[in-house]
Amino acid sequence: MRIWRWLVALATLLLGRRARRRAQAEQEQRIVPEGRPERRAETVVLVLLGIAALFAIGFIVTYAEFSPTGIPNELLGICLGMALAFIAAALAVVAKRLVVSEELEHDYPEEHPEEQEEIAELVRESGSRITRKRLLLGAGAAAGGALGVAALTPALSLGPLWYTDPLDTSPWRRGTALVDENGRPYAAQDVEQDTFYTAFPQGADPEDIGSPVVLARVDPSQLRLPASRAGWAPLGIVAYSKICTHAGCAVALYRKPTFKPLEPRPAFVCPCHYSTFDPAAGGTVIYGPAGRPLPQLPLMIDGLGSLRAAGNFSDRVGPSWGAVREGGPK
């Protein structure tokens, strides 16, 4: 019963306001004849804006559902694109059907304040055929607001609010064998200088962000590893995560000097933004936008001469985010 009363009160208020506004409008002398109200066009605009808001919300939901890894870019793109397209369609309908457009064929009135006022009035009156102005404004605000929030959503990935556990786990454990893409173990003696290899943990998912490592052999006399990593590079063989710490691309480039005195030292290079990492110095960044070294995987050689991990990575694997330096890989 109470709800019913509220509804009646609301309806009275709205109708009363409209009646008052119409009375006001009739008092003024109009230049542009009042356009015929187009309630159908208004409804179309409301529906279009509503759909736009739904797509914007869809963007936020998609982001939250799949974050932080495996976000389907296609879905995000469709949501964002559709939200913008429906807002554009709504604006097009407003422009074509709801705004009265009139032309005054005068010269530009420079010293005629009256005519300037007329133009101002013209502009004011051109929106006058809209009957549900507040509702339309509300719908516009809803669509625009949802889109704004959707655009801000990815900023949450900068902080630890979101679920980042998959980035923390690594399939490497002490004793995990290093295998090539066909599952064959790497023998230490097969790893040569002046070239590089990609290795995966035996028995783990190679698609896992923590799986792939780049493998290279550097001259043991050139090694400049931190003291805490002594023994991580048997025979000068080093392994680092293949995922660039900048934007998560695969570090697929290796360079080595042919003539050491004049050419740059060996380095892993990421093809996306040319972050360059020093394999002899614990994967430190020597060029490019990466903010932290490539995580290093400690190595050991088993009784059969094959390469095995001697523990987990030195740091978290993958692209960097706000709290990446807090805590380590699991």
């Binding site: 554009a88 097009a92 480039l253 080595k256 005195p261 004049l262 740059p264 040319y274």
Partner: protein, 263 residues
């Protein structure tokens, strides 16, 4: 001034200008023995080496570790050539990588300054310095292009781009491969010139190398389905099509929204 005098003056100025230009140029010419055609291959190689290579690579291919002024005041430094064999000499000379105009430059494809006979002589001489691998003889006909694209993606495309258009690595240029011969591809893979990694037969077998060569050669004549391929550089062509359709769509929207000016 009479007409003939004027011509004499112009000719004299031209000659002077040419001499001046020649003096201003860095020393990049080839030094040749006077009796070249009648010299035996190995001996010609030794003479050419002494005249053109020894400043940077040492008198007998022992290398020059730190830059020092050589013939004509040009700074010389370079890796030893003992043991690099005919394979490396053949690649560096046929691509025009050598002679290098400055020791700080990356050896890049250049005009070949030596004649065919000179290249063979130098190659024989370099091989005589300390053995080393012979010029390889890849058989792209025995290779498998689909295996080749897989191997190329894994080992080469990071720098040289998936259809071998070339690219960059910090500190060097990865050259495009469209003018490289099968032999030169095989040589480069095994040698790893400049900053390129070196791939041994343990990493890439000779059979796999045939497939890589077959793939690189095939990238020059890709199977295009029609239309403008735009150099087969990947999704850019699709992007351009989207862009053209996009522009048409935008124009259509403008036409719908806008009103023609009544005059």
């Amino acid at each position: 001034m009479s007409r003939s005098r004027r011509i004499v003056l112009v000719v004299a100025l031209l000659v002077l200008g040419a001499v001046g230009l020649a003096k201003a140029q860095p020393q990049s010419g080839i030094v040749r023995p006077t009796q070249e055609p009648s010299t035996a291959t190995l001996q010609l190689g030794a003479q050419l080496y002494a005249g053109n290579c020894a400043t940077c690579h040492g008198i007998a291919g022992e290398g020059v570790a730190s830059p020092r002024p050589g013939a004509g005041g040009v700074l010389g430094a370079g890796p030893p050539l003992r043991g690099v064999g005919a394979r490396a000499a053949d690649l560096y000379l046929r691509r025009g990588y050598m002679p290098l105009s400055s020791i700080h430059d990356q050896p890049l494809t250049n005009r070949v300054l030596f004649s065919e006979k000179e290249i063979q002589s130098l190659t024989t001489y370099v091989a005589s310095l300390g053995g080393g691998p012979a010029i390889p003889n890849p058989q792209p006909g025995q290779g498998d292009i689909s295996e080749g694209v897989h191997l190329f993606t894994a080992h080469c495309a990071g720098c040289h781009q998936i259809v071998a258009q070339g690219g960059f690595v910090t500190g060097a240029e990865a050259p495009p491969l469209h003018s490289v011969t099968a032999t030169e591809i095989a040589e480069s893979v095994r040698i790893g010139p400049y900053l390129m990694p070196r791939f041994s037969t343990k990493q890439i077998t000779d059979a796999q190398l045939n497939s890589i060569v077959a793939y690189v050669l095939s990238t020059r004549h890709p199977a295009n389905r029609g239309g403008w391929s735009i150099g087969n550089i990947g999704p850019v062509s699709e992007g351009i099509i989207a862009w053209l359709i996009g522009i048409a769509a935008l124009v259509a929207v403008c036409v719908i929204l806008g009103e023609r000016l009544r005059s």
